[in-house]
């Protein structure tokens, strides 16, 4: 184990190397490029004996990974924003073909207007595809979660692709200390992939198959079951990882000071760190506030949210995306999870930080104070520059 001061992008690269990925195919896009450049360096220098397939687009990159994965290779790719959107058709393919591809995604706003700054819309827009989704808060968490993602994705009762996200610039280009496990430690945690569930070379097989109404639903239900299993399997995987490294990032919905809180903010990504600092400051002022981080968006932590609902009176969701016609994506899913819960706290949505607008400590504090003092509006865009919209 060695501690290095590295960027979120390099955290992904090191994880892919330590996971001994066998096939990488990727296309560069700001702000992801350094991830795959570093992996290319590892491959070129012989440190990582993987096949690096150069392609002309993200669509082809994911296709290459799906094919290789279907044949039993451990595969990795990375992208962001427009690149992820270009891959969209194949995200459905990877999940439907039950290929455990692992992908790093740097969360970046979608065009138009063109923006290179952070925003969760790109990966939120993929929540229906059957991929496991993790949202990263720190470079350490990104590295650890990527390693765990391989094991989770490849688990025989899961067999679903997984993405690990990191906020553009706030993690991708930010250097901070990261503990990098040794190859021996990772090998003990992540053995080579089992070949039993794949297409076999030399045997005539076909992946995809045209299926009529009599069986299509059942194929898709298998994915639903797998995603359901992913919940508990992930907790087991993280327990294992914690035994090895001493680090447990808190499962699907890590919480902070919620036990005696009456008001909680649900956050995703790097805004969580800032919000944690605000929780401490507000507690010093006597407010009983806490924090819950939506670490896995898929599978969605329904159970954990219902448990949280029994502890608190008011829940605010800090969304870094918005589903037009509804509300912030995290809010709508939290609301869905809590609708049939035995206890339902007041629930409000705070849409902030789109297109890289900074979510400052002041912003988070304002959201908390608003949540503490007002029951509505149900969904509001924070600090919107508008003469008409009430925030």
């Amino acid at each position: 184990m060695v501690e290095l001061v590295i960027s979120g992008n390099y955290a992904q690269s090191y994880a892919a190397k330590l996971a001994r990925v066998q096939v990488v195919s990727a296309y560069p896009i700001t702000p992801q490029t350094a991830i795959v450049e570093k992996i290319a360096e590892f491959v070129a220098s012989g440190v990582l004996p993987a096949e690096y397939i150069k392609v002309e687009s993200e669509h082809s990159a994911l296709q290459a990974c799906i094919s290789a994965s279907a044949l039993g290779a451990r595969t990795y790719t990375a992208t962001s924003s427009q690149g992820l959107l270009l891959m969209h058709e194949l995200l459905h393919w990877a999940a439907g073909a039950r290929t455990p591809v692992v992908m790093g995604v740097v969360n970046r706003a979608v065009a138009p207007p063109w923006s290179i700054w952070t925003d969760h819309t790109d990966t939120i827009a993929q929540r229906d595809t059957g991929w496991i989704q993790f949202y990263g808060e720190s470079n350490q968490e990104v590295l650890d979660t990527t390693l765990m993602a391989f094991r989770l994705a490849e688990h025989p009762e899961v067999r679903l692709p997984a993405m690990v996200t990191e906020d553009a610039f706030y993690l991708s280009h930010t250097v901070e200390p990261v503990d990098i496990p040794s190859q021996e430690e990772v090998d003990a945690f992540l053995p080579p992939r089992e070949r039993s569930s794949t297409i076999q070379v030399g045997v005539g097989m076909r992946l995809g198959s045209f299926t009529g109404p009599e069986h299509y639903m059942e194929f898709r239900h298998k994915i639903a079951r797998a995603m359901g299993r992913a919940r508990d399997v992930f907790l087991e995987v993280e327990d294992d990882y914690a035994r090895l490294t001493g680090r447990n990032h808190g499962g699907l919905l890590p919480t902070y000071k919620v036990e005696d809180a009456d008001t909680v903010l649900v956050t995703m990504g790097t805004a969580t760190t800032t919000a944690r600092g605000v929780v401490d400051a507000m507690r010093a002022d006597g407010h009983k506030v806490g924090l819950a981080k939506l670490r896995t968006f898929r599978p969605f932590p329904v159970q954990e949210l219902r448990e949280l609902a029994t502890l608190v009176d008011r829940v605010g969701v800090l969304d870094r995306s918005f589903t037009f016609g509804a509300a912030g994506a995290a809010f709508t899913e939290v609301a869905g999870a809590l609708y049939t819960a035995p206890q339902r706290p007041l629930l409000r949505d705070f849409v902030a930080g789109l297109g890289g607008r900074d979510i400052t400590a002041a912003t988070v504090r304002e959201a908390f104070l608003d949540l503490l003092t007002r029951d509505g509006p149900e969904s509001a865009w924070v600090e919107l520059k508008s003469r008409t919209e009430a925030s």
Partner: protein
């Protein structure tokens, strides 16, 4: 927690300077966080980079708007950019310049220090007259003027992480450490 903002031009090494500072702080057992201004980068264009240093894990992930220290790698930038925007009144402005601190044109009324990093860099063969690579010299000056990291940590960070000319860069650091001018001029 200390927040430092670096101003330079693309190619001068402002981003590397902010990262080297993070590495130096890390060697001292501190918690660093460093990142560039998140804009489109290109040679010659103004570049801003940031470093946070704290004794405890850093509980914030946002831009730095009220730095404690501002470091200017290219004094020419001060004509077009308000480099001291948000700089705390009790903070420090360090400028790469041949001038004495009281000759530096700035609205900032706090502590100013100068270091002739350009000539030090050139004396050690770092970069060219048109594009001197001043970042390591500037870091040496910063260590002395601010005391936020030791000379030894900066030396080690430079040795380990500078991609080329490690020895020349270390000498530039040491040289600059000795030649920072007027650490406590308050205007």
């Amino acid at each position: 927690m200390i927040e430092i903002r670096f101003h330079g031009r693309g190619g001068q090494g402002a981003v590397i300077a902010s990262e080297l500072l993070a590495q130096a702080a890390f060697l001292e057992g501190k918690h660093p966080q460093s990142f560039p201004f998140f804009g489109v980068e290109r040679r010659g264009a103004p570049v801003t980079a940031f470093t946070r240093i704290d004794d405890a894990p850093i509980q914030i992930r946002t831009s730095i708007t009220s730095p404690d220290i501002v470091v200017v790698l290219d004094a020419g930038l001060m004509r077009t950019i308000n480099v001291t925007a948000g700089l705390k009144p009790e903070g420090l402005l360090l400028v790469n310049s041949e001038k004495a601190p009281d000759q530096v044109e700035t609205p900032f009324k706090g502590r100013v220090a100068t270091i002739d990093a350009t000539n030090i860099a050139l004396a050690h063969g770092l970069g060219s007259k048109a594009m001197p690579i001043v970042n390591t010299a500037v870091l040496g000056g910063l260590a002395r003027a601010s005391g936020i990291v030791s000379l030894d940590s900066v030396r080690k960070a430079v040795e380990r992480f500078v991609p080329a000319k490690q020895q020349a860069n270390v000498l530039a650091v040491e040289d600059a450490y000795q030649h920072v001018v007027n650490l406590a001029v308050v205007r």
